[in-house]
């Protein structure tokens, strides 16, 4: 009998590959006879291509071909819409016409023998435009607010308008009111690995080594674009150098790589430059949110009004659950949420870690802090007084909700009871110290997934599934799930993922990999074990003449979605030190306590949560894509100018998990932690900044500039 490995802090099974440089990322699948493609991007923010002069570039040494709308073949672009794609609108088509929809729109691709040659020729392309003036900010004069079409239906996770009770009347009558507007800047994911695709055609079969969190869909999408059967496209991506949502959709550069490879009849490698990572591979939309809260003197919430507005592109309506949590995080009889979009001449935003909630809960939780101040009440106490017993939005019970335990555990570890509630009351020498907290939540969902388990003659097993690992540790946690299901030691299990011809899975995002894929892996392994009729696999297979035992299985949603509100919850505590004169803010320490169901691997879960907290530090204090208001240019499109936290920005971080046994959420009882890890950190920091300084900054990020001018 082998001890179960679920719950053990195993080191990563792919750790060795990653620390020795053996782990291969998309751009590293160099092919024989490969050429290099470099994308040329528009230098205006809206308009038409007037002329392309490729003469100089064409004549340069090494240049193999140059494609633009003038000579590129018309591509079928068959209808295909995965659930990572916006429900409304049409994906960007490239090199099909002369339209420029946003600054950095891909307008040509240059293919040359070497990277240096391709880059140089790309720089020599002379393209002139008939430019128009784009609308690039959601508060610009010409910007028009719309109701997102897909969110009009009240059934989805994202709703345009939700109301219960009479929030406006309740707000007007309450003794304590907060009415504030929060503005969160556009952010770019900026994973360390840039997007990359190596494309190889063999007849009408295409292989793509391509950075993707959703290899199955990437194959289908590219097949649809090129009008070939999906089985003829194979996408391979064993490792992802971070993505945070940026590689969920299949963006236009994948099409360009495949197109270039077909055109020149050779394998093509296309890697986006860091600047190009700011053009057309998605971003967290800027949001402007009004939150109005009203409460009785005892802190009981009388009204919650949350009106969220987010930017999108003109050609697609990206939506997320920006205001959804405001309808159920607290008990309140009168709630109104609205969600609006402002289409801009920009590329389409996309999911970025904690999409929706990460931004929406900044507004809600900062407003709760403002309310606590207005009530002269401890912010935890205020939240405890408004703990709901069911999800008041839909009346469903929570499958589990450990919010109280999170407050208690987090507060104890943080030492919250030593907090002096008065702003500017805590010091360390000259520095102002602030302690702030926020609640967090993120839905736990799952989607159908498949896996195949194969028990081999040597008694070890192999599991295949099309899932991905962008860093949370899919390889490791699936190893644990499979090992336990098969009653094998983890060392005797190999997980193979990241190929579109493996059993299909949902996208690696939305914190549902463990719930969905894990359940499928477990099911496949249990099926294989059942087939074997025992666990003495070596003998069993020997008796079968060495024939491996293979079982495939899928996991689907049960009816849990209809019976329960399923969410992870958390409480995040942060300490900041603010220099009162220079207005620099440093996060000295933070504690996050999460109720996230079963934790498969505490070592990995901890890393994932502290990593999300680092993302929250970026969101609160640094990250913003600066857009030139004249033409939509992302001005700070480099790692030196788009600031994300460096090591010295991060103090000590602690992630704690409350024991939570949730029998309903999925067979593994795991709620997923990738998203909730970032939710709550930014508002906890902002609230700490207020506590330190007495200044309430509602525009994010809170930089020196903001604190100096508030």
């Amino acid at each position: 009998m082998i001890d179960p490995s679920i719950g053990l802090p195993l080191p990563r099974v792919d750790g060795r590959a990653k620390v020795t440089g053996a782990a291969q990322y998309a751009a590293e699948f160099n092919q024989p006879n490969q050429v290099y493609a470099v994308v040329v991007n528009s230098t205006v923010g809206l308009g038409r291509i007037a002329a392309i002069d490729a003469a100089a570039a064409t004549g340069m040494p090494g240049v193999v071909a140059i494609l633009s709308h003038l000579n590129a073949p018309r591509l079928p672009y068959h209808e295909h819409r995965a659930f990572v794609d916006p429900a409304i609108g049409e994906r960007l088509h490239v090199l099909q016409d002369d339209q420029v929809r946003f600054f950095g729109h891909p307008v040509a691709v240059v293919i040359a023998e070497t990277l240096d040659q391709a880059e140089h020729a790309a720089a020599a392309m002379r393209i002139s435009y008939a430019a128009e003036t784009p609308v690039v900010r959601l508060d610009a004069p010409g910007a028009v607010m719309i109701v997102p079409d897909a969110a009009r239906k009240p059934s989805g996770r994202t709703i345009a308008d939700g109301v219960r009770g009479d929030p406006d009347a309740a707000f007007a009558q309450a003794t304590h009111q907060i009415d504030a507007t929060y503005d969160i800047a556009r952010e770019h994911h900026n994973p360390m690995e840039p997007h990359a695709t190596v494309a190889l055609w063999d007849g009408d079969h295409l292989t793509l080594w391509s950075k993707s969190q959703f290899v199955v869909n990437e194959a289908i999408e590219i097949a649809a674009v090129f009008g070939v059967p999906a089985e003829q496209v194979l996408v391979i991506c064993p490792f992802i150098g971070g993505a945070f949502g940026a590689a969920l959709r299949t963006w236009s550069h994948v099409t360009l790589a495949a197109l270039a490879a077909r055109h020149v009849g050779r394998p093509v490698k296309l890697v986006l430059s860091r600047r190009q990572m700011f053009y057309a591979v998605g971003h967290r939309p800027r949001t402007v949110q009004r939150v109005a809260l009203a409460a009785a003197p005892d802190g009981r919430l009388a009204a919650i009004i949350h009106e969220g507005t987010a930017e999108t592109s003109r050609y697609e309506q990206y939506i997320d659950a920006l205001t959804t949590a405001s309808a159920f995080l607290y008990a309140c009889p009168n709630v109104r949420t609205t969600y609006r979009l402002v289409p801009l001449d920009s590329s389409t935003p996309t999911f970025m870690r904690g999409p929706g909630e990460a931004s929406g809960i900044v507004a809600l939780e900062c407003a709760m802090d403002e309310l606590a101040v207005a009530l002269a009440m401890d912010p935890i106490e205020l939240r405890l007084r408004n703990e709901p017993t069911v999800n008041e939005q839909n009346g469903l019970p929570f499958s589990s909700r450990s919010m109280r335990a999170c407050y208690a555990l987090g507060a104890a570890r943080f030492g919250w009871e030593r907090r002096d509630p008065r702003p500017r009351s805590m010091h360390d020498g000259r520095l102002l110290i602030g302690w702030g907290m926020a609640a967090a939540t993120y839905p736990s969902s799952r989607a159908p997934a498949n896996a195949r388990a194969r028990i081999l003659a040597d008694g070890t097993a192999e599991v295949e599934t099309a899932a991905s690992d962008m860093g949370p540790g899919t390889y490791t946690s699936m190893t644990q799930v499979a090992a336990d299901a098969l009653e094998l030691a983890p060392a005797d299990v190999r997980i193979r993922i990241g190929r579109s011809d493996f059993p299909p899975t949902p996208p690696h995002g939305g914190s549902m990999t463990m719930a969905s894929v894990g359940s499928a892996v477990q099911a496949a392994c249990l099926a294989a074990r059942a087939l074997a009729g025992g666990t003495n696999y070596r003998d069993i297979i020997a008796r079968r003449g060495g024939e491996p035992i293979v079982a495939a299985a899928s996991s689907a949603r049960g009816d849990e979605q209809r019976r329960f509100s399923m969410n992870a919850f958390g409480a995040v505590f942060a300490e900041v030190a603010v220099d009162p004169d220079l207005c620099t803010v440093r996060v000295r320490r933070a504690v996050g306590a999460y109720g996230a169901g079963r934790i498969i691997n505490p070592r990995l879960a901890r890393s994932q949560c502290t990593g999300g907290m680092v993302g929250g530090i970026g969101m609160a204090l640094m990250e913003q894509t600066v857009v030139d208001t004249r033409d939509g240019r992302p001005v700070n499109a480099s790692m030196a100018d788009y600031l994300v936290p460096v090591n010295l920005d991060v103090g000590s971080l602690d992630a704690l998990f409350v024991d939570e046994d949730d029998p309903y959420v999925n067979p593994l009882g795991a709620k997923g932690i990738g998203e909730i890890a970032i939710v709550g950190m930014a508002p906890a920091i902002a609230n700490a900044v207020f506590h330190a300084t007495g200044q309430r900054v509602r525009d994010f990020p809170i930089r020196i500039e903001a604190l100096l001018s508030t």
């Binding site: 792919d14 620390v19 020795t20 240096d116 435009y129 360390m192 860093g471 460096v646």
Partner: protein
């Protein structure tokens, strides 16, 4: 703003460079001599990744702003994206592929696994090379000193707590 880019910054394109635009050099990579015929423009990073197929060293920004491309150049940590390969004829380069001795991981590599000093792993080779140098430089007196001297390596996954713990442990052990 201008309607097109044609006139910007390229009016004065120089005529062709004087002299040869390729060169033959020798790099001693992880102890092994490698001869290469390279375009003068080739960065040390591209020489490793595209010519020697040593893809352990990563390209994160190609602008000196992330540290993913960190290698040891004659024992010192540098960003290989911002230097030209042919400036280092005869130099010793150590990459992440050159740290382990057979099956035995370098103590820094082992510590990174033990402390889970990474998630996606893309910044990791750069972090590890930087850590090896950081320890050799003696900049590991405290966690804050490690943080400061490891700040030339950005980790977007935010694995900093594990990185600091790993460097501290490897420094103690070494």
């Amino acid at each position: 703003m201008a309607a097109g880019s044609a006139a910007l910054g390229v009016a004065d394109l120089p005529t062709d460079a004087a002299g040869p635009q390729t060169a033959e050099i020798e790099l001693i990579v992880n102890g092994r001599s490698r001869r290469l015929e390279l375009d003068t423009r080739t960065s040390l990073l591209d020489a490793l990744r595209e010519h020697l197929q040593l893809t352990g060293t990563k390209k994160g920004c190609n602008q000196g702003a992330c540290g993913a491309c960190t290698v040891l150049l004659d024992g010192r940590r540098v960003n290989s994206c911002l230097t030209l390969a042919l400036m280092h004829d005869g130099a010793h380069i150590t990459t992440v592929e050159g740290l382990a001795r057979g099956d035995a991981l370098h103590p820094v590599q082992a510590a990174f696994i033990e402390h889970d000093g990474f998630q996606c792993g893309y910044c990791t080779p750069g972090q590890i090379m930087s850590a090896v140098a950081c320890i050799a430089e003696g900049h590991t007196g405290s966690d804050d000193e490690i943080r400061a001297w490891m700040s030339g390596n950005i980790c977007r996954c935010g694995a900093y707590p594990g990185i600091v713990a790993a460097v501290a442990q490897a420094a103690r052990a070494g």
